[in-house]
Amino acid sequence: EPEVTQTPSHQVTQMGQEVILRCVPISNHLYFYWYRQILGQKVEFLVSFYNNEISEKSEIFDDQFSVERPDGSNFTLKIRSTKLEDSAMYFCASSEEAGGPGGELFFGEGSRLTVL
């Protein structure tokens, strides 16, 4: 069964360092997302991406964050200068459609980011 894959599964970094989280969405999906989940909190939307551009971003997704689809398969999230509060599980997701029936999200297993 097709699945969303994410690497790394766990990354530990020093505050102020740059981090890139990588995702390979399901191949025929057109919509891509990053969500994050701080330990014990809810899953929060960061950004959605369609047709090679950001379609929506949340207030969390500030200038320190960026996304890219460098080739036909990878979808990356970059955090330029990590802060302690960026420590969370980051989930990549993809869907065939945006919203509604067919808009269910397929999530990866997550990348746990720990900022020291």
């Binding site: 929506e56 945006a98 997550g110 746990r112």
Partner: protein, 113 residues
């Protein structure tokens, strides 16, 4: 935008019984609502989608209802099994016309053998 409310207390239930979870939302009624399962340390897994014109949807032992008057969805697991122990997330568009999903905090279910 929407406030999505799920019970923060874990639901402990005996194996074989029906677990019922509630999702309340506060503002506009969305065109659809989704339920996901999340196991500890793992990504959410899609379970069911129900549209605003559907009162009820079933999938195997799962049943979801959608009451736009009450602004509420109920999620039922019938004949619960220990393997059903997980956190169940309600998700819906955060405001009218938006297509991304906002998630509730989730409701943990513990099925006791």
């Amino acid at each position: 935008s929407q406030k999505i409310e799920q019970n923060s207390e874990a639901l402990n239930i005996q194996e074989g019984k029906t677990a019922t979870l509630t999702c309340n939302y506060t503002n506009y009624s969305p065109a659809y609502l989704q339920w996901y399962r999340q196991d500890p340390g793992r990504g959410p897994v899609f379970l069911l989608l129900i549209r605003e014109n559907e009162k009820e949807k079933r999938k195997e032992r799962l049943k979801v209802t959608f009451d736009t008057t009450l602004k509420q969805s109920l999620f039922h697991i019938t004949a619960s099994q220990p393997a059903d122990s997980a956190t169940y997330l309600c998700a819906l568009p955060p405001y009218y016309g938006n297509n991304r999903l906002a998630f509730g905090k989730g409701n943990q279910v513990v099925v006791i053998p």
